[in-house]
Amino acid sequence: MTSPAIEDLLRTFAPQVLGVLVRRHGQFYACEDAVQEALLAAAVQWPAQGVPDHPRSWLVTVATRRLTDEWRSEHARREREVAVAVRQPAYAAVAPPADEEPPSGDDTLRLLFLCCHPALPVSGQVALTLRAVGGLSTAEIARAYLVPEATMSQRIRRAKQRIEAAGARFTLPSPADRDERLASVLRVLYLIFNEGYTASSGEALHRADLTADAIRLARELRRVLPDDGEVAGLLALMLLTDAHRAARTGPAGELVPLAEQDRSRWDRDAVAEGVALVTEALTWSAPGPYQVQAAIAAVHAEAPTAEDTDWRQIVALYRVLARVAPNPMVTLNQAVAVAMVDGPRAGLALLATLDADDRTAGHHRLAAVRAHLLDLAGDRAEARAAYLAAARATTSLPERRHLEVRAARLAGR
């Protein structure tokens, strides 16, 4: 088996093995370390010696051995006595040999809820999700987020400490908390996706494929929660967005806006899967924000050219989105759609409502959208000033370059 195939295998097994260990021993912190060590051992041994006949059992055995090695040290033993007394769930004592059980989707779900616990800062939720559920090594996560490995390692350790301090358990949240907790899981997966999606081509070579990891985790979540419309919506949104990958950057790594992309380069399979997912989900689920955003992406995806875009339908969908998830960023995108239907001045009027909002006033996206609409309205001087304001405010190099080019084009004409 090739190394990439082994890597895929290990990432699939990571949450399953961790679930088995935590159910048996009830100590997330120590189990997570032990599983990580077992994954590293497998990554070294399997390519050379071949994949064992029962790879999941192999990982459970090695991780358990690491765990007991850890326990043997004097310091750890003292910790364990306290930890076991406090934390070990009663069912751990009566559970059947866990590595004989089929992989449990509930384990993945419990792990996701644990990693996206509200006691953690978002950066901690993201890092821990990638390691404990995504099966990535600390070094891979550090490379993906362009920080030293020591920094990422500490961030993960701190996140695990906070989970312990918060007294979080390896259980599903109560029905009262469930929606909110699931919302943070979805947000973390979407953040991981966006981090990978927005990486420019040059440096993407050196980064773990976070986009693929996020899609993989969203697929896994969908497998576990097939009846949740928002999970389907998030996966659809990711697929429909990722479908643009080949078309969204030019030969020199410059950003190509949606309207100017070569649509023949879109990934048709990803589009078809995303459209089918969201269309199906909307037939039985109340429309949540991810489903509506996916539906908007689907309308774009179904237009053979930018000119064929059904902007009326997009405006209608943004109205739904503004109702289910009111947010100034939604208004911002809505303004573009409104401009395409009722003219740029109508879009600009909608944007004017955002100037008083602290969340968007001075934000580069507001200036960028305003610049675009002023450009459409033929107001070149104002458009140029707005493009330059957006270029000064963004913290993204490709965006700054794109906005400066737009401004320069207006000056040149």
Binding site: A150, T151, Q154, T198, P398, E399
Partner: protein, 123 residues
Amino acid sequence: MKYMLLIWNRPGFVEELSEAERTAIFGEVDEIMKELTESGELVGGEALAHPSQARTARPAAGGGAEITDGPFMESKEQFAGYLTVDCETLERAAEIAARWPDVRHGFGVLEVRAVMEQAGTEM
């Protein structure tokens, strides 16, 4: 989001401090560094040598470059080092800057600048 905290201070101010003051200041720096390391926010940082050791390259009058001894700017405060942190908000980065001894004891200022990302969103 990554931020660079640029430390500007008066060169040689440390020479004028007593042993105890110096120890106290380094202790404060150690404490902040320890906190940032433990929180997973510290990305890196360097202290720079005295500006008298600097060279400045600038465009020469007849084209090409000329290299001169000393720093770029003749100002009371000089660029002395930097710290890169990865934190949730600009406010958090500014709070770290405000606690730096140069600011607390009036030896200099810290400038907080967002680091540009290599990533961009579809526009």
